[in-house]
Amino acid sequence: MLSLATGGKIGLTNEDRISVKALDSVSFSLKAGDKLGVIGHNGAGKTTLLRVAAGVFEPTFGALETVGRVGGLYDLTLGMDMEATGYENIRVRGMLLGLTRREIDAKTDEIAEFTELGDYLYLPIRTYSSGMLLRLGFAVTTSVDLDILLMDEWISVGDESFQRKSEARMKEIVGRSGILILSAHTLGLIEDVCNKCLWLEHGRAREFGETKSVLDLYRKAAAA
């Protein structure tokens, strides 16, 4: 076993293959209303933890139990087809995020209005600027009612006026969603948003508890 400044545990399996233990004995439970901030150095296992929560990586030991719709607020434009129109992409993205056709139809007008893209929504999205594309992705992704929200860094989209609007929308859905798991390096943000905090180190939970107490310990360790 080798312990480095970054990354999880590197070891060998029985068949002499190199294996990385990205997360080890990380146990916690959250209830509705909990906002969890995940902190730690690069490679500590923050993104891996989010992917376990999203159901991408199945635990090799232990279990993950979730109640309700789990969804990630990342890869905002995943699955979008550059040759399809804005409206078609609302449909594609919506379905990919698990919405039914009826749910998408009901939300389309609201999504379209939020993007402020107007008639551009009738054009193939390859004609969009990257900012416009993100607006569309953001509007569709945040229109899904999620019970457990996963976020890898806080997202900020668009120009100044849209940023204000998207910030308000973010606050709204974070307030609405039962549980938030937010991985971030900005401690101030976690202080603002989260009531619980998990400090990961080499894939292990070094501290878990109230945001303030965990952050105090983290800051003390960083200063030392």
Binding site: R51, A54, F57, E58, E65, D75, L78, E83, M95
Partner: protein, 280 residues
Amino acid sequence: MTAETSTQARRLARIASDTRSYRRAIGDIGQALSLWRLWGMLGWLDIRQRYRRSFIGPFWITISMGVMISALGFVYSTLLGTPIAELLPYLAGGFIAWALISAMMIEGAAVFTASEPFIKHGNVPLSLHSLRLYWRHAITFAHNLAILLAVYVIFQFLPGTSLFVFPLTFTIVSAILVIWAIIIGSLSTRFRDLPPIISSTVQVVFFVTPILYKPEMLSDRPFVYQFNPFYYMVEGLRAPILGEPVTAKLVMTLLLMLAVSAVLGLIVFARTRGRISYWL
């Protein structure tokens, strides 16, 4: 959100290292099948994206295949001493069937690696990607049937009653192909040397399967096609659209292949499904 969906969505979901992997593999496939609108749309968009702003679109494949069939029919009818009116429809049926089968094998190998961003994002069952691949090639297959219409017109024949069996054989062959795409895709994600092996094997299989020639021409070595599962899949698609009799033996063989593939597929998928995202 309606009350019904919200209660459905708020069920407890448990992913544990000790969960029975067979149940989860079946659940994955069941969930993927129920999301037919999603893979149908993604498969359709794949086609549309490839040919957007092209005037003829997917018919380019059809045209190139039609040209190849005509040229081969012209040459091979002389080589094999078979009248062109007999050989050309046979070649058309065989090539259209083979295009679907070979694409599912070759592209099936890359199906999960090509879908990595989707898989890493989560919340979509894995086998959905194989169904998306299938749908894309089923659409191409449907376009290629235009060649067959041309054949009917030029050689002035009607396929007859065996055409009614086509939906049955097509469904069985499709199911076999999807299962094989899942098997090959799962193993290829772990063993990256597999895709090139698959594509060269498929090429060899093309020549040993009666597509360019008729099985009767192999009468002194019938084992070449008798023990070749690809022959039965080609024949299952080709015979009904050419109006040749679809024997009970053929249908039974295909059903047997489906059963064996399903068992094998389940064993492989149950063992690999939970690992695929790690291997990407």
